[in-house]
Amino acid sequence: MEQLFAAFPGPLPLTQLYGKAGFYLISLLIGIAFGYTLEIGGFGKSTKLAAQFYFTDMTVFKVMFSGIIVAMVLVFGASALGWLDYSRVFVNPTYLWPGVVGGLIMGVGFVVGGFCPGTSLVALATFKKDGIAFVLGLSVGIFLFGENIDALFSRFWNSSNLGRLTLMDLFQLPAGVLVFFIVMMALALFWLVEYVEDQVNGRQDRSKQLKGKLVGAAAISLVALFVMMKGQPTVADKWQLIADGEQKRLDQRDVQIAPAEMLEFIENDLVRTRLIDVREESDFNLFHIIDAERIELAQLPRLAEKEYLQEPANTLFIVMSNDESAATEAWKILRAQSIENVYILENGINGWLDTFSELIIESDPLSGDLPVPSKRLTSVEDDGLRYVFPAALGSNYSVSDPDLHEYEFEFTPKVKMKVKKAAGGG
């Protein structure tokens, strides 16, 4: 149990905690709860589902949207309190047009067949004959897709991929504000669909269980209001949550890797390296290590969430600045954003040049464009470039991509690749 609480914030590494069997057992239990809930709501009965489209019984809409808003306030509420790490939660990637086309086909299928996939499983489990026929059809449809997608529509199916795109990105609003707005919208829509139901059925059901409905509406509004007022954790907040352990790793210099270790990983084909250079553009243009990307510190939190978290597990991130100050800031940001396998280039670009530039001259005396140590060596401020370069050649210097295979370097290996699989979708 203690181990379980130590694993928070969620999502929890279930496989690590309880093994694959434990993970699958928990999935089974979640599935049982899901199936049970669908059945008690009447989702095993096709006539009740289809009534949604003739305005006589809007149960589908009510259940789906109350499910969405309850899960939403809980997800963002837990995230606001630091119990759940939203950046590691699976957000369905947006493939805009395939989603629209698939959705339209499904809408037609819903009216023709009277179920959607999940509800048809519940109908089957409660022996409804139309549910059984639907599941057979469902299997045929899925089979047909698997058989012809590559041949027919693969280009369209993979088009308009916008990645992990959220409503926060789209509307440029904080999550809490959207959460509150969506809850208000849902409550208004619930009132509207009940009004429509009453009009179509010629009844006055709206006033039934009015007290319960109002209590529910008030409760979710209050929680949504709390989520909005509390706000989502900033990068600094997230760093505070992990600062105890992580600051120790920094202080003990567990994460500052020697230039030679970094060179080894650049040349290792089994590991993807992403070299993140957080220096000023002028320094970067003067000199940088081959394949390094220049990133502003301010861009890092967003890049981490949208891009780095999606990288395969064998990706090693190395951040660098001229010395270590800015790189250390970058490291903290990436760690706060839950990126694994992040290291700092020890003593930065200056350290890299200290280690390799003389060897390069030695191994290739003909390279005439080599940087020479600056005369300002001592007076350079912290995290300043201590070398002068004859021209802004970027990564065209030999020492940007040193070929020093005949040399043996001594260093303390520090990189320990952690393999963490990101959550996927169903």
Binding site: E39, F90, N92, G107, F115, L121, A125, F190, G426
Partner: protein
């Protein structure tokens, strides 16, 4: 008709209460596993599993199927398969406790059972194809993605309702 049906079927739970429980289950799924709920993906895996027994070579030659069952990969070795199995068990248990297990066909008053079955089969084909096209069904894409505010999931939900309301009047004979 099996014996449990002879007792009175219990009425369905209030939709908002059902929704609240559903939301809680969905939240637990996110908190524990990091992913939401799903139903169409695992069915795909079961099919691919059978296909892999019959024609493994074919799987290895179809790019879409390789990640699921190419080479030695077992398509059933996936948490979502267990989640789907759970949906069946959970649905059955609720049917059992609430006396709703019954071999019946739910249909509109104007069509025969046979018409209902063929339409259910046809609708199933559309649903299965559409759900794979949209990379998830109403649960996996709509409900789960909607709750974590994915743009694609909200657009998808609008498309599902648009598609359904677009043909509902035309097909009213099936249900009214």
């Amino acid at each position: 008709m099996i014996s449990t049906h002879s007792k009175m079927e219990k009425p369905y739970t209030n939709p908002y209460l059902t929704g609240a429980i559903l939301g809680l289950v969905l939240f637990m799924a996110f908190l524990l596993t990091g992913s939401g709920l799903g139903a169409s993906g695992p069915l795909n895996r079961v099919l691919v599993y059978i296909e892999d027994i019959i024609a493994p070579q074919h799987i290895n030659n179809t790019p879409y199927l390789i990640p699921m069952a190419g080479g030695d990969t077992n398509p059933l070795d996936n948490a979502f398969v267990f989640l789907t199995l759970g949906i069946l068990i959970g649905g059955f248990l609720s049917g059992l406790f609430n006396h709703r297990l019954s071999f019946i066909t739910n249909k509109g008053p104007r069509i025969t059972e046979k018409t209902r079955w063929s339409m259910a089969f046809l609708g199933g084909i559309l649903m299965g194809y559409g759900a794979r096209f949209a990379r998830g069904c109403t649960s996996g894409q709509g409900l789960s993605g909607g709750a974590v505010l994915s743009v694609g999931s909200w657009v998808f939900l609008l498309a599902v309702f648009a598609g359904a309301y677009g043909v509902a009047h035309l097909l009213r004979r099936l249900w009214t």
